[in-house]
């Protein structure tokens, strides 16, 4: 998966879980949960769906590394390289 594909997969899942959000609302360096009002339940749903698509599980201790769209894209890219 390219960086752009990972990024699009994340955006797609956010839009799937929160249909009222528009792509333009997702600011790459803003905290996903706080800026888009996504609670821990929906956040877990997004990570569960991404695990199925990308094949990478984010452990709870790494949540701080996937707080923004930028960080999450980078996190998945690095895990896929390993």
């Amino acid at each position: 998966m390219t960086q752009e594909q990972i990024r699009q997969a994340i955006i797609d899942q956010i839009l799937e879980i929160a249909p009222d959000i528009e792509q333009g609302d997702i600011i790459p360096d803003k905290n996903i949960q706080r800026s888009l009002e996504i609670d821990s339940f929906d956040f877990l749903k997004i990570l569960t769906a991404l695990n199925e698509i990308i094949g990478v599980e984010v452990p709870e201790k790494d949540y701080a590394k996937v707080d923004t769209l930028e960080h999450m894209t980078e996190y998945f890219r690095e895990k896929l390289l390993k």
Binding site: D20, F41, V58, E60
Partner: protein, 357 residues
């Protein structure tokens, strides 16, 4: 032979629209089966039947607004013969589909216009031009307004609060989740619900109703969970029989309830059988919340956002994950002592989290 009537889905509901029949005449129905969908101010609700039998007659057409108590269908026992008598149709408000749609957008009750017979679009437009220019609150806003006004007028609330050190419970949960796949993880919200339920088993006086001038304790523990809707508004559907669920089952039921609430697919039992309310379980919430009790319930538990804070233990000061737990109680049903006992039990349970499994 019995009538299946439009159920009351909350003390504040007067009517609802029967949207769709999920059964037809001649179908065999069992206790608890969902047989219709109705649209209320709180969204689309699935309606269950409470007896076994055969659908003898459907009395109301789809997309009809019906008052609470209106007979919707006749259910006969499997061994009874079909009725032949004609049952008078429930009175319903006649309106053209365009008028019904417009009225909904405007937040106007069709019944307020129906005096002259069928409601037409032109009538609504006249009404709109005369109406003062205020934003008409939608049905959900009105339902909340009604229930909360009644609560504040009738219920003498008392409020208690305590700080709970959540570090032991969260550490325990993190270790548990580290051994699981992502789909099996437990969220702190489920852990907290489970802890509240265990504390209520010890202090049952807070789980029940004030009805007919006296307190009634409920054996089932069905906490109403405050769930914010993304498009605005709040619903507190019940997690039914949480007293019989393990931690994993509580998490599973909570996930299912949140998903169905946001998809507008709740059942009537979930809308009406709350025995207590738990609010502000969100990680986006405030530090502490002093709730307004939803009548006829007698208590509401508020769980604030978990935050890093200084915590003194013995002679040492350290940083811990701290949560403000609050309780608003109905002073007619219980005294502050009961509420204090509950918060103390809740705290004790959360210090010994392995008991929560």
């Amino acid at each position: 032979m019995s009538e299946f009537v439009m159920p009351s889905l909350g003390a504040d509901m007067e009517s609802a629209i029967l949207m769709e029949w999920l059964v037809k005449v001649g179908d065999h129905v069992t206790k608890g089966q969902v047989i219709a969908e109705v649209e209320t101010s709180k969204g689309v609700i699935e309606i269950e039947v409470f007896e076994e039998g055969i659908v003898d007659k459907l009395l109301v057409k789809e997309e009809t607004e019906c008052a609470v108590g209106t007979p919707l269908a006749i259910i006969r026992g499997s061994d009874e013969a079909a009725v032949t008598q004609v049952i008078e149709k429930a009175e319903r408000i006649k309106a053209s589909p365009a008028a019904r749609k417009k009225a909904k957008e405007m937040g106007v009750e069709l019944s307020s216009l129906a005096a002259s017979g069928k409601v037409h679009l032109a009538q609504l437009e006249t009404f709109a031009s005369k109406a003062p220019k205020i934003i008409a609150p939608n049905g959900m806003r009105q339902a909340i307004a009604k229930a909360m006004s009644r609560s504040n007028a009738e219920i003498p609330h008392y409020y208690l609060s305590t700080s709970i050190n959540m570090t032991p419970a969260l550490n325990w949960l993190e270790a548990l989740n580290a051994t699981r796949t992502i789909a099996q993880r437990i969220l702190p919200a489920a852990l907290l619900i489970r802890a509240v339920v265990l504390a209520l088993k010890e202090v049952p006086e807070l789980n029940g109703f004030w009805q007919d001038g006296g307190p009634q304790i409920s054996e089932q523990i069905n906490p109403g969970i405050a769930i914010a809707l993304r498009k605005g508004g709040l619903i507190t559907p019940a997690l039914i029989n949480t007293n019989e669920l393990s931690l994993d089952e509580t998490m599973h039921s909570l996930g299912d309830l949140i998903s169905r609430t946001r998809a507008g697919k709740l059942r009537n039992t979930e809308m009406t059988q709350q025995t207590i309310t738990i609010t502000n379980l969100g990680d986006l919430g405030v530090e502490s919340v002093y709730g307004v009790i939803y009548p006829p319930q007698v208590a509401i538990v508020g769980l604030g956002r978990i935050m890093d804070a200084p915590w003194a233990q013995g002679d040492s000061l350290s940083v811990r994950k701290i949560m403000q737990a609050t309780l608003a109680g109905d002073h007619r049903a219980t005294d502050g002592r009961t509420g204090a006992l509950f918060l103390d039990k809740l705290n004790q349970i959360l210090q010994d989290p392995q008991e929560l499994l």
